[in-house]
Symmetry: C2
């Protein structure tokens, strides 16, 4: 499982961004930029959590920053994003799919679903942001609906049409790039805005 | 700044736990165990965030897990712990000091103070947990007090006596090891418990 620390295996090595391979980069980028904007305009305090990494070995070169020379990705035990909005705890996961027909449920880890259940139990606002990159459409899917589909669906995916019918489409903008807090306002703060 | 990737510098390399060197290990351990207990008993949903790491190089050995071979610690832009308790967003930092006379303010990054200010602005509960390891005493220090001391204090530390007078001491137990949510109840939910 664990390789030889001093083995030179540059043939299989890659320069990477601070981003786990295979995850949707551009949705993440859009969300980070939007969260930055929301932070600066004091509308919300939402951050992406760092990628969980198991650190095995660290070098301390003279007069240089500590260098991690052996580490492994860990399975995340929570969702990627959380923070505070309008006094409420907010917690969500973001996923991108190239499929034109459905969202594959294997994109979400079982313990992330468990985590979203806990978010709702403790009184937070929970959801999943799903992008169908082929259509360039991004949806906010309420956690309760996602949990139900995950646990009670016979199939291994949620059809695109079902998401379209049950989720809320997120408007794109320049700043923020994804106006997802407008969807949050409409879905979770309706009573207050209608007063 | 950045070392040579293939340089064998094992003289300065160490096996590490998943824990940034120099940070108090045992306070972190106590908090993680306590949070686990609070999670299992459904009292609260509080997690430690992963250590922020800048990943530079990853190897993909055959039939093995991806191995990160070059990465660096990043300065955290938020506090270490957050979650949901009694419907409220909760956010805190934890620090340990060996000093018997004061808590050195350099233990907290300026952007962590900024982050705690934002937590309060957006309606969350924020604090710092400080352990004086020489006395084996752990205190919950309200964020507003900490921010004020950080910004308005002439000295570079908060005297132990001042913390003792202005913070709330956390009771130790077996499970949880640190009953810090009892302090949170008393400090932030007083009105409700007195009804």
């Amino acid at each position: 499982m664990i390789g030889y620390p001093n083995q030179k295996s540059n043939m299989h090595s890659h320069q990477v961004r601070d981003n786990y391979m295979g995850r949707g980069m551009s949705l993440e980028d859009d969300l980070n930029k939007s969260n930055e904007y929301y932070l600066e305009t004091q509308r919300a305090l939402i951050h992406k959590k760092p990628i969980p990494v198991q650190i095995v070995k660290v070098d301390y070169p003279h007069r240089s920053a500590a260098r991690i020379t052996e580490a492994y990705y860990k399975t995340p035990s929570t969702t990627d994003y959380n923070g505070i909005y309008r006094g409420k705890a907010i917690d969500f996961e973001a996923k991108e799919t190239k499929s034109k027909t459905s969202f594959p449920l294997k994109n979400i880890h079982p313990h992330q679903i468990k985590h979203l259940e806990r978010v709702l139990y403790h009184g937070g606002i929970g959801f999943v942001i799903i992008r169908f990159s082929s259509f360039d459409e991004t949806y906010l899917v309420d956690a309760a609906y996602m949990i139900d589909r995950y646990q009670n669906s016979d199939t291994k995916s949620i059809p695109y049409a079902q998401i379209k019918a049950n989720a809320s489409i997120i408007r794109r903008g320049f700043t923020p790039r994804l106006c997802y807090l407008d969807n949050v306002d409409e879905l979770y703060f309706k009573e207050e805005t209608c007063k």
